[in-house]
């Protein structure tokens, strides 16, 4: 699923680039220079984030996450789930199948919604990167608000699912 959108993005970028070269060579070259510059600027931070991710994912394996989210994990497990979701940054195409497996094994709907939401919206690992763009206060507040709101999402999804069933 993610592959299709990446493919579309490549198509979009390349056709615009071709159009740009046809219309105004100078402008096209300028665009490429700018593209490279903003990439080179952020590459060091990207690499740091990706290495931290690799270390976290390997040293904190799925089995541990599953244990946190088990049926009998209680409120503490609920809280731990949100923390794990906030720290790790798993792409959706890994998170959703994982959440399905956990749901099939008795994890709660609310916990899963919180887990997925914090996974996607809160990134402690990417926080330094975000700070570079938006400053400390804005970046920290955005993540904090998203973290707190994830619990509301959990509650809302729990109610919706209950009503429909």
């Amino acid at each position: 699923m993610g592959d299709v959108t990446t493919f579309v993005l490549y198509g979009l970028a390349l056709s615009w680039l071709a159009f740009s070269f046809a219309r105004d060579r100078k402008k096209a070259e300028q665009a490429l220079r700018k593209a490279w510059k903003s990439f080179a600027n952020i590459l060091p931070a990207f690499l740091v984030v990706l290495l931290v991710l690799a270390l976290v994912v390997v040293l904190l394996p799925e089995a541990t996450i599953a244990a946190f989210l088990g049926e009998k994990s209680g409120f503490l497990g609920y809280l731990l789930a949100s923390v794990v979701g906030a720290v790790t940054l798993v792409p959706g195409f890994v998170a959703f199948p994982m959440a399905k497996v956990l749901l099939d094994h008795g994890a709660g709907v609310a916990q899963m919604a919180v887990f997925i939401s914090t996974l996607m919206m809160v990134g402690v690992v990417t926080l330094p990167l975000e700070i570079r763009y938006f400053g400390v206060k804005a970046a920290v507040w955005r993540n904090l608000l998203a973290y707190c709101y994830a619990f509301l999402i959990g509650y809302g999804v729990w109610i919706f699912v209950k009503v429909v069933r």
Binding site: M1, G2, T5, T6, L9, L12, A13, L14, W16, L17, S20, A28, Q30, A31, L32, R33, K34, A35, W36, S38, F39, I42, P44, F46, L47, V48, L50, L51, V52, A54, L55, V58, L59, P91, G92, F96, A99, K100, M112, A113, S117, M120, M121, G123, L129, E130, Y133, G135, K137, A138, W141, R142, L145, A146, Y149, L152, I153, V157, F160, V161
Partner: protein, 178 residues
């Protein structure tokens, strides 16, 4: 030159060292760390180039007035709608959204719309929604999507209230001579 590279990539080298330390203590885990790291980097390098090319083209070709009118301070509901759509039809992880947000800011998009855009990018992507429906069913996916939608708007609104004018001005990147 070498010194510059060492300084710029300081964090990267420190973490690389940490990976080697892991390898030293447990070759099995260490090899896994390196494999995952390489996968991550290759994934980033495969997803991110079109994003940056589009950022560059956008910067050069799209006039500032056009963006300000549709997504600036006075853009209202239409601006919010466009910001939501921009984020929802994007692809790639959240870290790819930051450079896009930067160029949008430079073109005069209001901060509130930037928060909406980031929120939509992080949790309201349409391709992800389809995948979520496949895996977790329409009720779960739709209700989570709806709750996320409310949250994205609420967070954008609250962030705007929390930041002082001075802090907001500092976020805007300096104008670049074309």
């Amino acid at each position: 030159m070498v010194k510059d590279i060492l300084r710029t990539y300081r964090g990267f080298f420190v973490l690389l060292g940490l990976c080697f330390v892991t390898f030293f203590f447990s070759p099995l885990l260490g090899r896994k760390v390196f494999t995952v790291a390489l996968q991550n980097i290759l994934f980033m390098l495969s997803v991110v180039p079109p994003v940056f090319i589009l950022v560059g083209l956008f910067d050069v070709w799209i006039p500032r007035e056009m963006v300000v009118k549709r997504l600036g301070e006075a853009s209202g509901m239409v601006g919010i709608g466009i910001a939501l759509a921009l984020g929802a039809f994007a692809a790639g992880p959240l870290y790819a959204a930051f450079p896009v947000a930067e160029v949008l800011l430079r073109k005069g998009v209001s901060l509130r719309n930037i928060w909406v855009f980031l929120g939509a990018w992080s949790t309201m992507k349409i391709p992800m929604l389809l995948f979520e429906i496949q895996n977790l069913g329409p009720v779960f996916a739709a209700s989570r999507y709806f709750m996320s939608f409310l949250g994205v708007l609420a967070i954008a609104f609250l962030l705007n209230c929390f930041l002082s004018l001075e802090e907001k001005n500092r976020i805007y990147p300096p104008f670049e001579a074309p």
